[in-house]
């Protein structure tokens, strides 16, 4: 029940912020969608008639999955950093519910919003490119949520580091773009790249949606385990940095 109140609280704040700053929101959406269109039609015109249909479909779904990954990771580490810069992070610590619970609720609200937002972008992408992908939406959402858990972990670790080392946030932004490159790697069958965060789930989704591939049940178990390990490590790192920040009085120093 407490989690529900916290999540609804965050969603309400998010909606109010978007309503109040709708111009920034709309312009951000246009930029993101514009980049996608440039990529899609660029690939199509350079590839000419030789370009495979699956490449275009991969681009559509890959772009959406990258968008979700980027916004999820950045929303967590960036959010913690931003609260610390604003000076409101200390206020969040003053809740008897504990900072982790509050940040998890913030993250959950952000991710729910990001997934919804990116599904709308996906629909618009399919509409404009006239390439209708065969997507099982409950499966898609479930896989995205499971995969994104690993990025929540990394986001917490990044946020913890950013409280102490404020300037590190720009490196994280570069990392978010690095996810594009990582999405070219093969993660199945099991190999060293399968242990990367988020990528195994994202590649599995592309395999299922674009190439109609099937995966054994253990593979889904592995993706879940992979995500949970990153989450636990991330939360542990956040706790370590949180203790360090409180020792050095860095929570409210901006």
């Amino acid at each position: 029940m407490t989690y529900m109140i916290l999540i609804i609280n965050e969603l309400k704040k998010l909606v109010k912020e978007i309503r109040r700053y709708y111009f920034e929101f709309i312009s951000g959406t246009i930029v993101m969608f514009g980049i996608f269109l440039a990529l899609f039609f660029g690939l199509k015109s350079f590839g000419g008639t030789n370009i495979e249909a699956t490449s275009l479909d991969s681009l559509i779904i890959g772009y959406i999955l990258w968008g979700i990954a980027m916004s999820s990771f950045q929303s967590i580490s960036g959010m913690i950093w931003e609260e610390s810069q604003r000076g409101t992070l200390e206020k969040l610590y003053l809740s008897h519910l504990g900072i982790e619970k509050i940040l998890l609720a913030k993250v959950f609200a952000n991710i729910v919003f990001n997934i919804f937002f990116n599904i709308v972008i996906l629909f618009l992408s399919m509409l404009i490119t006239n390439r209708w992908l065969n997507i099982n939406y409950p499966y898609f959402i479930l896989m995205v949520v499971v995969s994104v858990i690993s990025l929540i972990g990394l986001g917490f670790a990044g946020g913890g580091i950013a409280i102490i080392h404020k300037k590190v946030i720009s490196i994280f932004q570069i990392f978010s773009f690095g996810i594009i490159g990582l999405m070219a790697l093969q993660t199945y069958p099991l190999n060293i790249f399968s242990f990367l965060p988020y990528i195994p789930g994202a590649k599995t989704l592309i395999g299922v949606i674009v190439y109609n591939q099937t995966y054994p049940l253990w593979w889904y178990g592995f993706i879940l385990l992979n995500s949970l390990v990153y989450l636990v490590i991330g939360l542990y790192m956040f706790r370590l940095y949180d203790i360090k920040a409180r020792r050095l009085n860095k929570l409210g120093v901006y």
Partner: protein, 313 residues
């Protein structure tokens, strides 16, 4: 009155600098305790330690009988705090939205706080602007919003770090009245830091004076004034004092004579006001015409200056 905050031998260091050095004090239920000290004295560090926003090296803190380190989350359900600086709230939200949000992070839905929110917004004169963005507000109104957001969950303990810094007189008075009413009518315990001596003198039951992390004084306002109960008398007389006149004042204790063109001002500090008659007798013998008499009581500022410049007297 029971003690709701107990600080025992608190030590907080930043590398080689000792920000708080072995401080102990208690705060009683319903009490308004003031924390005075120059910049860097350790006031904010102490407040943040009580709120578990800082890890301290030594000492123990108890809030409502609970060890603050062991129960750092639990103790927060009965505490509210407005920290130093302007960013206690979200500037892009309105007072109404800020209060709703901070109630939410205390696990309270909007239905549960409806009455309290309305009461606070009206009491703090924010009702008419409750839907405007806080960024458009004056510093005073932002501070009032921060206070409302900090106490929406009705805590019985409130920690206010420099709540009047940079505020105009009217807002300062509003906040002063409101703090007093919270203590007297709702029996809330308030720990407050401020540089504003007159403000502190007018609201605090007891004052802690801290300098360089050391507690110099922990006394009620009455005790503090008794400690420095000397009254300062300035007697202006016609003409200047001759050297022989001056000799006659040698037994009256600490005094100062300022000579002007046609008059002199004799300033003397007396613990017992009846001693002034001795001075009048001397002046009568010298046949001096008294033009003016001015009596000044010690203010908190005088006491603070005495303590922080000379350490413990």
């Amino acid at each position: 009155m029971s003690e709701v905050i107990i600080v025992e031998n608190l030590v907080k260091k930043y590398k080689d600098i000792c920000a708080v050095n072995d401080i102990s004090f208690t705060v009683k239920k319903g009490e308004i305790l003031g924390f005075l000290g120059p910049n860097g004295a350790g006031k904010t560090t102490t407040i943040k330690s009580i709120l578990s926003l800082l890890e301290y090296e030594e000492g123990r803190i108890f809030v409502n009988g609970m060890d603050a380190k062991k129960h750092k989350h639990k103790i927060m359900s009965d505490m509210g705090a407005v920290l130093e600086g302007a960013r206690n709230i979200y500037w892009h939200l309105s007072p109404d939205e800020n209060i709703n949000y901070f109630a939410g992070i205390m696990g309270l839905g909007t239905n549960k706080i409806k009455e309290e929110k309305e009461y606070l917004l009206k009491r703090l004169k924010l009702w008419d602007v409750k839907d405007k963005e806080v960024r458009e507000f004056s510093k005073g109104m932002q501070q009032k919003t921060a206070i409302a957001a900090a106490i929406i969950h009705k805590p019985s303990i409130l920690l206010l770090d420099e709540p009047t810094l940079g505020l105009d007189v009217e807002t300062k008075n509003d906040i002063k009245e409101w703090i007093i009413s919270m203590s007297k009518e709702q029996n809330k315990t308030i720990l407050i830091t401020s540089h504003d001596m007159a403000f502190m003198e007018s609201i605090c039951d007891r004052i802690l004076i801290i300098k360089k992390g050391k507690l110099l004084s922990n006394n009620s306002m009455t005790e503090l004034k008794d400690m420095f109960a000397n009254k300062k008398y300035s007697i202006t007389v016609k003409e200047n004092f001759s050297d022989s006149d001056k000799v006659s004042f040698k037994d009256i204790g600490e005094h100062e004579i300022i000579e002007n063109k046609d008059s002199s001002v004799l300033t003397v500090s007396l613990k017992n006001s009846k001693e002034i008659y001795n001075i009048f007798d001397i002046l009568k013998l010298q046949n001096k015409e008294i033009l003016d008499i001015n009596v000044k009581e010690n203010t908190l500022e005088d006491i603070f200056t005495n303590l922080t410049t000379d350490e413990v007297k």
